[in-house]
Symmetry: D2
């Protein structure tokens, strides 16, 4: 065995599958992370505008979560308990009831699925099919719901779908998302027509599953009116409404759930990513109580009870969601972010602002340009990624807890990279 | 908000989905766990013969893993890093290469899938279909591979399958496992005949996926000869051999991989459950290098890089797998366990011994009897569960690190429960 | 055994399945048929505006076909020869080559499928999937392609689809037909967008299958521009273009193939219904020669060689398609039909004219009204049916050989029925 | 246009799809057919031991059927009437009731499906799924049920299945047919075990579909005991029993239905091939009245009412099935056939007799040998084909009406061909 330095990356080419991805764009070895900063083995700091794809809404290694977790581990608190009752689980559920469900007058029950988003999505569509006796699920263009077969069938991206290797991705109808077909086209009309025509070939749906803001799909934000329309059509069709809030939830858009100001009443909501607060694997499905017709263990999983996540998730709820102050701060920063992005976008011919809340970005018109911008950002100490069907959107997903100073600094780096690749010196100067 | 005691369970009926399961059989609130003992809010200790369904092969809260994890958290080590390089990940991969892969002359690459077993299984079958251009996968009767749609299609249990709510569980052929059809029937012959007959209606398979010991299916252990037969047929058919070692791996059968003494060369191996060492969510797929044809992110996931799990998994490898001593101790205990179970089984009319290594149990002939035995065990301080198509097998899955004393004590409780429910006072006395 | 009269219908309720349909609307026993007239057991004559759903384009029992068929039978010509060479088959193929293929410069090959339209459709999509290695087929809203599982998946009607009893109707994407979403909406744009967006969730198609005029779907006639657009998109997508000409072909729209004036070059064309000339079961699939990659018997069937149909089909070709006179006469009648229908439609509030050629009708706005009109027509000696998603279209499908006198007489009956049910005495008077 | 002779075959290579098959083995142009003799353009006579794959049980061009059909055509009887009542249809149904259903105390209803076997099969499985609410259908190894997607999923042959071009052949489980796995193996036990094990992965079936004698699959004849076992298991499972009697019915095995001496009570029976008597396309599904829950037109089709077939089918019923004499003659000939085939088989090392009734043949051990034998037969004036998974069975399917003289003559030719290819001069001499 040879001596290796911390920064040695040969093990990855030698032993990690070609499926690895982010490490290719951000090709260094990270050793520390705190708040909005990641540090690599050479001691370089990077501002994190990716935040674990929205899994680190409260930043890296929040000190209160760390402390609670260390205390839990130190005292031999249960780490793995399948889905047995534990004090950590009880405390989490009580905190979730008190800070999230009751204040929003939600009577949903919490299903502990496996700790990944795709598992929560699979549970949701299984339950919807079981309840309605229908197979078809309406998903939307540019949707991303996961990589396991049921969730992959809901996902739009052809590159991901090809990974199924030729097996059928069945029982899903993809219809156009809000705004997908351009300014003039009201996609609600299209959806309603397809579902109300008994000869359209679209079978009566068990459910609609919607990301209120499509993160992977290009930061497409559905309007309140469109979401209300979908809720109405679902009800008319006898279908359930599933909100996939895995990326847009946990405060990302300025409220805990991304649709809580929309006046709709989802039958199910999926949660994952930032749900544990600290980036630990954790997911759940919220279900209206009358729909909770699961038989015991009908959908199960070994890691439904990640007690470490219960601990940190409880701290997150108590620290950030006891009152409105965090939400207000996120909303304030969202405006700041939007304004800065708009001024940057104004210097790119044809560019448009995308997204909502702290989930905004710029459609720069081409995947090549977006990729170049992100690469330059990384060289200059900013971790930021693209999204969209053609990777054409530069996406800001920084921690919601980021300081104004770091947010501005990160946006300066972004502006500089845009200036470089658009030969526009004016932007950086602003 | 009312004051609640630690042991209050009302939150579960009020807010957790009916899908919850283990907490129904073990209806108390656990607050501490160490080694092979779980402790509840009233201070009662329970010997753990379930071990998180084989997720806690090294016991609860191993002190070295705890220490390393606390150190990592304290120094702001990366918690969530998507699939970026981190020092914790590098160290884990190097340890895995040095303690597991190289000594076994395995050139497999490691694919970090989502941190659940079902995700590793989904990745395996996607890849097998992609490589072979075939859709059909051979799975076995009584198999359990997970709850997401692709894995569920591979799973035999009708109760679980019904959860799909009527959507097709496609592109899988279930064939009889070793011994499934009773003593006289060589299922290999059946399998071979079905696959070699070009008019059998069984399409050419992309892969065979096998649990060498079926944990959920009733502790059915495939023989070396049968596994070799499956490996041979797979090769003849141009199909890949996928070993699902999620429950039987990580030392459970006495070796790190459950088939490493079988003289077969699996194309892919799934790992999860005890893979992190400490019960944290963590899974991976081992892939022969020539089969690693994934495109970057073609199968991805938010929690592919659970750095806490990297830390504890590395400690587990270094502590238990640097030499043969742990394996030998497990093999010694396996014999002890087998002998005691046999003597208990001998007092139950028609009962048979099932399983292999530290994954053994007794088929007591009926689910009712098995359930009664487990319930009595719990009353007497032992956590133990059933498995099998009719829940007819009482299954011992204690930590591999259990002391002989606790193992004997647990088996005494089991013997007593058997005696009670078979009205046989002799057993307990032995 | 009791004595029965010719007109006794008790055998049907006693012994025929409830699946029977047309006999419910036209509840008499027919005993004779000639040209455009059906005669029942009581001697009542009915003008036939249904013509076997376009299977009798040349009318009932054409004397030349009759004579040739009787001659063939009398001389022990082969009746059933599987797909072996027979003189009747040779003569048919030569006539088809000379009258249809060569004059239109078509190099297609003829695949004798089973003698039903659905079988030709199934063959077409199997071949398209085999050639392209893709599974997805684009079909259209309100499409009707048959009742066997592959064709049913292409069919839009939910009542028909429900007959599948819950099995998946896979690997088909239904997109909106020309004009389906109303005047203002260019469905080509929608189709193109869905297929060019790599994240739409619509997998790359093997083929587009289109009825140029949707018969069952409500006499929706695609425009030349739209069909050209579909042909262009198919080519861009690497997908094959399948024209389902089963109902609209054989002269129904004024030319032999319904798209021959459209400047498109279909990869495959399905033919059935009037293909035999005399209403005998007979179907075929035309395939561009470079696409004829079938292995012998890879798609087979017992009744691929209906020699009686070869005889009558040959007569039909020689009698009606040797020159342009028949086409011109059909086109002349089509104008006459259109004009009369328009004047009838003008008296029904909100009614619109549908269709093309001798495949026209009136959308009267409601299935109830359309049903009432057809029922009254039958009472008055006219056989005519509805179509459309809501059965809202009164559809004229009379023999193309109908005399002007009978055509006018039938339309008079229709006008009278419309007048009765719209309380509009003016129509009939015209 | 060039002058062509009757025997010119260039049109086929020029214009018929490569899917054509029988014409390759029997490469001449037939011009006449009568009884058991086909005659080609050169005036050569061939004894027909193929009989349209059992579509010509009453021989070619039966004079009574011819006469009735010519009379019908001459008097302008209805040719095509969709599924409307006609005198020809009434007369057929009454004859069927009187000669077939009532004497066998069957209360089944007759569903007129499209005129092909595959259509009747598709209707049967649709109905079974609709009734039971289950998707899975049990089909058997080596089964052949048709080429449309639903029937193809039931078919075992991989060459045929590959024609689906990669789309899933879903919701079918193939289990081993009677005797499929060799002498010692009771496949009923296997089937029963797979279906009674709730964790086998085989979903509860909607139906079992069985050919009592597998024609294409190699003349595998199920025993009475096995068929009774399947009937019992189906009942226990709440599944319907569908007998596919398309090839084995209409007297082929010595009784009208091939299982009428088996003491079972099928829920549905498919009929086609010889159903029309004269080889015209015609099929039907028999349904127990309580299962006839079709909605009108829920399964429909243009050619459900082939009135020419009604006419000839009625004559067949009245001529051959009014009393037991025809059955007795078929049974007599079956013994004769069996004895001759056995004596031929005895001279081929390893050869075995296959089949039942007038559906017998010799498994000669290899497809090459079987092919050579059939080719030599054709040279010597006998049309005969192979079947089986490896085309290893030489299959006799002559008309049931064949004279003893022609039957012996045909068997002499067969014996001579066997002698030639096994270098055994003794056979022919016998």
């Amino acid at each position: 065995m040879t001596t290796v330095t911390t920064g040695d990356k040969s093990i990855y080419t030698r032993r990690e599958s070609e499926a690895r991805s982010y490490c290719r764009a951000f090709d260094t070895v990270f050793t520390k992370a705190s708040g909005s900063i990641l540090t690599d083995a050479e001691g370089n700091d990077y501002i994190d505008f990716l935040a674990g794809c929205s899994s680190l809404n409260y930043g890296h290694n929040d000190p209160d979560m760390k402390a609670a977790l260390i205390e839990h581990i130190s005292r031999d608190g249960v780490t793995h308990g399948l889905d047995m009752h534990t004090d950590a689980k009880s405390a989490f559920l009580r905190a979730y009831e008190n800070t999230i469900l009751r204040p929003r007058r939600m009577d949903h029950k919490v299903m502990m699925t496996g700790p990944t988003g795709t598992n929560a999505v699979e549970a949701a569509i299984k339950l919807a099919r079981k309840i309605t006796g229908r197979r078809n699920v309406i998903a939307f263009t540019n949707a991303f719901h996961g990589m396991t077969l049921g969730a992959l069938a809901l996902t739009g991206n052809s590159g991901k779908r090809d990974g199924a290797g030729g097996t059928s991705l069945n029982d899903v109808t993809h219809l156009p998302f809000d705004g997908a077909m351009g300014e003039g086209v009201d996609t609600l009309e299209h959806i309603e027509w397809m579902l109300s025509n008994p000869s359209s070939g679209v079978d009566a749906p068990a459910a609609f599953i919607v990301e209120p803001v499509q993160g992977e799909g290009g930061l497409n934000a559905a309007s309140k009116e469109w979401m209300q329309g979908i809720a109405r059509i679902a009800k008319e069709q006898g279908a359930l409404l599933i909100i996939d809030d895995i990326q847009a939830g946990c405060g990302r858009t300025g409220t805990y759930f991304s649709t809580e100001d929309f006046g709709i009443d989802p039958d199910m909501i999926t949660q994952a990513k930032s749900f544990s607060g600290m980036g630990l694997p954790f997911a759940a499905l919220l279900i209206k109580p009358e729909l909770d017709v699961w038989k015991p263990a009908e959908h199960n999983g070994t890691f439904r009870g990640n007690n470490h996540a219960f601990v940190t998730a409880r701290v997150a709820l108590e620290k950030f969601w006891k009152d409105k102050s965090f939400e207000k701060d996120v909303q304030r920063k969202s405006e700041l972010l939007g304004a800065r992005l708009k001024s940057i976008a104004d210097h790119i011919p044809g560019a448009t602002l995308k997204g909502r809340g702290m989930m905004q970005g710029i459609d720069v018109g081409s995947g090549d340009l977006a990729g170049d911008i992100c690469a330059t950002c990384f060289e200059n100490g900013l971790i930021i990624e693209t999204s969209g069907a053609h990777d054409e959107v530069v996406k800001v997903l920084c921690p919601l807890t980021i300081s104004d100073e770091l947010l501005e600094k990160g946006l300066d780096i972004l502006a500089g990279a845009v200036a470089k690749h658009t030969n526009n010196t004016q932007i950086a100067a602003e």
